[in-house]
């Protein structure tokens, strides 16, 4: 393409003809290859160190164990990208598990109806978190910390005196084995990824997380959008809860404890910024797989869960260190 002005202007003058869909893909790959390389490296380390680790079964179990938390973490990714934070998703997870359990075990509702009620309950609790923040301007950390304990209490009240187990076979299929949860994980990641990358509301998550004031001045409805992001976070926590209740074949309010922290850890390890504006679900999947690979690998090496937790803790700090200090200077 030709330009009419003089070349002394300060504009960079890369010919436009060279930028294409390929460049966009390459640009995205540049952002993800480091975490991907880390995942492969960590896998190879355990592959070398442990004989039994070298099976396809192990690989599948890493994916399988990652899947439920990864679904929850996809929601966390959306919320963090938008500059928000939801500490209550573990408790939303507990409430939804109990609610679906009651619908199935006590009211014997059809499975699809129970699932829909569970999803709506999760979305509703997420929306409530967002609405309280938008209306009161109390920080996300505080509102969702309140939600963390309040929703937990609701789960306990709902579950008390009830036997929430032995669900219909058609429900148990959802979370059984590795393949179905894994398939649902990839489907959720794909849809969430498309939402973030291709839709208006998804794009606004990056804008609001990047600079809320610029987004507002550009005419973005920041308050309404925020409520939607928390709703999505709640609905995906509900999806994860339904799969786990199905897998375990029982529901109890203690489930979901600390899941919000594991989800945030996976998101951060994957490279989504804790401060909003950057990231994606592909990174979160990789982050979750890194965490699971370390957990599974360490147990194959005979390292106990306590030491595993210490390892994960160190990795979280390193990931944020990387986010804050090692980001390529622009």
């Amino acid at each position: 393409m030709t330009h009419t002005g003089d070349n002394s202007s300060t504009q960079i003058s890369t010919p436009t003809a060279t930028s294409s869909g390929f460049d966009v893909l390459r640009h995205q790959f540049q952002q993800i290859w480091q975490v991907l390389a880390a995942l492969v490296l960590i896998y190879l380390v355990f592959f070398v160190l442990s004989e039994p680790f070298r099976s396809l079964d192990t690989l599948l179990s890493i994916f399988g164990q990652a899947s439920i938390l990864a679904i929850l973490a996809c929601g966390t990714t959306v919320v963090l990208i938008s500059g928000g934070l939801d500490l209550s998703v573990g408790s939303i997870f507990a409430v939804v598990g109990v609610v679906v359990g009651i619908m199935l075990a006590e009211y014997q509702l059809p499975v699809p109806l129970a699932v829909v009620i569970g999803l709506l309950a999760g979305a509703g609790m997420g929306a409530l978190n967002g609405t309280i923040q938008v209306l009161t301007k109390v920080p996300a950390f505080i509102v969702t910390l309140g939600g963390l304990t309040a929703y937990k209490g609701i789960a306990e009240i709902l579950a008390s005196g009830r036997d929430l187990s032995r669900f219909p076979d058609s429900f148990q299929m959802l979370g059984s084995g590795y393949m179905v949860p894994m398939g649902i994980m990839f489907a959720v990641a794909l849809v969430t990824g498309l939402f973030l990358a291709k839709t208006q509301l998804g794009n606004h998550a990056y804008a609001i997380g990047g600079n809320e004031e610029v987004a507002r001045l550009s005419g973005v409805n920041v308050r309404k959008s925020r409520i939607y992001y928390y709703m999505i976070g709640g609905a995906l926590a509900a999806t994860a809860a339904i799969l786990e209740v199905s897998k375990l074949n029982f529901a109890m309010p203690a489930r979901g404890q600390s899941y919000e922290l594991f989800a945030i850890a996976a998101v951060v390890i994957g490279g989504t910024s804790l401060f909003g504006g950057r990231g994606g679900v592909g990174k979160t999947l990789i982050g979750m797989l890194i965490m699971q690979t370390i957990i599974v690998g360490l147990s194959y090496l005979g390292v106990g869960t306590s030491v595993q937790r210490i390892a994960i803790g160190i990795i979280i700090i390193l990931a944020v260190y990387w986010d804050v200090w090692k980001r390529p200077a622009r």
Binding site: T10, A207, G210, N211, L217
Partner: protein, 256 residues
């Protein structure tokens, strides 16, 4: 300048923060096709004036008319609907978004299919091609419009922000210090773009600290001091020294 037809007039714009009066009953008149400079010392109320005018902050009092009819502007969206496009200082672009996404932020083009209608799926190809066409027309040489805004220089970012006003500003462009933090060459480029806004049929209100820019690029100048309108002058009737006197209060102006 084509005549003296008033396109926008504001009467008695005021903004109080508690007991502090940031803006005290300021009148403003913008004529069709002119570049109106707003000058004043730090804290004179320049930014407050345009923020109150464009709905970025709620005004305590004041009335805004366009073409002689009252328009209610309570939010940035209201201003955009009225055809007023604003470039706020330091608040023009989101660093993390690509040039394309920044240009269309809040006014994205949706795909003209079921995905667009149901899910708000965006038509990036169309947005990209509109930007490329506009950049070519304005001689803005940014090719990699899919890259994040933070990857670009201050001059390039300002060029993008100004291009946004050309793309969406139907009537009025309001610019808060378009050359702040720019080097000499980048400033000239930005100011040439400001001049081209005029060629694109926009009337311009521009806050600036640069007296040279007032003298070279503007038609009229209004001086604010301590939240009040100190003077309004035709640029051809003043010189830099007089303006500085009006800004500091050494010369008493009469709002004409």
């Amino acid at each position: 300048m084509n005549g003296t037809q008033t396109i926008l007039s504001a009467r008695g714009l005021s903004k109080h923060y508690g007991g502090v009066v940031a803006l005290d009953a300021v009148d403003l008149e913008l004529r069709q096709g002119e570049v109106l400079a707003v000058v004043g010392d730090n804290g004179a109320g320049k930014s407050t004036l345009i923020k109150a005018l464009t709905g970025a902050i709620s005004k305590t009092a004041g009335r805004v008319e366009m073409d002689g009819e009252e328009v209610v502007i309570n939010s940035p969206s209201d201003a955009k609907r009225a055809g007023i496009e604003t470039v706020y200082q330091d608040l023009a672009l989101v660093n993390e978004l690509s040039i394309t996404k920044n240009m269309f932020l809040g006014r994205e083009i949706r795909r003209n299919d079921v995905f667009g209608r149901l899910f708000g799926a965006l038509d990036f190809a169309k947005m990209d091609s509109e930007i490329r066409a506009l950049f070519q027309k304005l001689d803005i040489r940014i090719a990699d419009i899919y890259r994040e805004a933070e990857a670009f220089s201050g001059g390039q970012r300002q060029a993008v922000a100004l291009a946004k006003t050309v793309m969406f500003g139907k009537r009025i462009a309001i610019l808060d210090e378009p050359t702040a933090a720019l080097g000499v060459r980048e400033s000239k480029m930005a100011m040439d773009l400001v001049r081209s806004l005029k060629d694109h049929g926009l009337s311009v209100i521009m806050i600036t600290h640069n007296m040279q820019h007032v003298m070279n690029y503007c038609d009229r100048v209004m001086v604010l001091r301590l939240g009040r309108l100190a003077a309004v002058r035709d640029v051809k009737d003043v010189d830099g020294d007089t303006l500085v006197g009006l800004i500091t209060g050494a010369t008493e102006g009469r709002a004409a």
